[in-house]
Point group: C2
Chain length 264, copies 2
């Protein structure tokens, strides 16, 4: 059964393989499909778990409960259901936030974390106009944001990435409007959540990967994480935007493989 | 609930959107993830269903029952469960065989079919040595076959496609050895199934798409289908092997969109 339950909310996940567990946490509005080029290659040597966050894909989509803390409890529910004691977390964007929150809440259960194109306190620097635009025209504003979240090279050579990113939130059964509204309204939602004063207490091996051409969570936002998580390493990748795992899948896989191997 | 049942065998499917239904049927050893760049873009305007065939991915994997006819009954179970009367079928490789078999068995329920890199009677021309190699070293032989199933351009520019294709059958939870064995042994399995004498009775609008560089189901195998299905059109695509939907996703999507639009 590919579902775990957190207080009545069903969380979908896909699971394959055996070995050191790796949990993949996708970006906002997307779903576990984004890890296609990781799930099966890594499942040859690892216990791979790809979760659909609540409000996304095949998971339940309750009216509220979209704090990053609640998302992290969903991850815990999945690990508990699978009796996985400790895992490597790989989180992209909101997935990275969920990974960091999970690590803060359950430090003993994380072997290491790969934070891919993420940040904290993302709403802090957001101009009022941008926040208003988001509320008034979510689809239009988010589409424009995505234009700046894929590299020039990826747009040229892999135009399907921008196309699929724009489609996720236009499909109500994948990401309905109420999830957007509730995430925006929650003080600990995707834009409100802020752990900048807690980063220094993270003791888990961490690499932060930033795309050089990512305007959604720019290099500076990722550098801030790496600078403040003790021992964290920053890697800035060329010709990549917000989605390293799709824009240069084998390069991302090599970095992840090296990181996991180094944990033992 | 993303499962339908055919005589106790649970078939997993993902479903999104509204409009003319489109059912996606994946190649042997893979799963529904292969349609990532189609599912969400098309779900904006269509009722999209992506099935994991029995023996694959998240569907049940019984010991036997891997005839193409049985796979086609699984598709019927999904359409019945979703109360979908008529749909466009899009099938790649074994998925194309399943589509054609479904059309033969349920002509009134198919609006049109896109047969992508497929064939019939594939085992007929297979040399004894190849058949023996398959049985003795499935993983090695299938890997070699896949090398010839992705175009030179795709290998250069999208090396992750070959990597993910090689990984599917190396992950037992996705495609276990007994499914391979049973499919090979079944007289109507992936290599034994042969409807060459029934193609002329298909009356459903059909396009056949072949990759110019596909050595798995070469252009000739696809041309045979197009030549023998009344009114079928053949399209041979450049720089593409067996996986048009991943090798050139937007080009494939444009062809599919045009085909679906032309059905009304």
């Amino acid at each position: 059964m590919p579902y775990a339950e957190n207080n009545g909310t069903k969380i979908f996940y896909d699971i394959h393989g055996q070995g050191t567990p790796i949990v993949f946490l996708h970006p906002w509005t997307t779903n576990g499909y984004i890890w296609y080029y990781q799930i099966f290659p890594f499942a040859r040597t690892n216990h791979v778990i790809a979760i659909d966050h609540r409000g996304h894909g095949r998971s339940d989509k309750p009216k509220s409960g979209y704090s990053i803390q609640e998302h992290a409890r969903d991850v815990k529910a999945v690990l508990d259901a699978e009796k996985i004691d400790r895992a490597v977390l790989v989180g992209n964007s909101i997935g990275g936030m969920i990974a960091m929150q999970f690590t803060l809440d359950n430090p003993g259960r994380v072997l290491g974390q790969v934070i891919l194109s993420s940040g904290t306190g993302l709403g802090e620097g957001m101009p009022k106009e941008a926040a208003a635009a988001f509320k008034n025209d979510f689809a239009g504003t988010f589409s424009a944001l995505l234009e700046g979240a894929v590299s020039a090279k990826s747009k040229r050579e892999r135009p399907e990435i921008l196309e699929v990113m724009k489609s996720h939130f236009q499909v109500q059964s994948n990401f309905p409007k109420h999830v957007f509204d509730s995430s925006m309204a929650d003080p600990n939602g995707v834009f409100g959540w802020n752990i900048k004063n807690q980063l220094s207490s993270i003791r888990t091996p961490t690499i932060v990967i930033a795309g050089a051409e990512d305007n959604a969570t720019p290099v500076a936002a990722n550098k801030f994480l790496a600078d403040n998580i003790p021992g964290a390493k920053l890697s800035v990748v060329k010709d990549v935007g917000h989605f390293h795992q799709l824009e240069k899948p084998l390069e991302f896989n090599a970095a992840l493989k090296e990181f996991v191997a180094g944990l033992r």
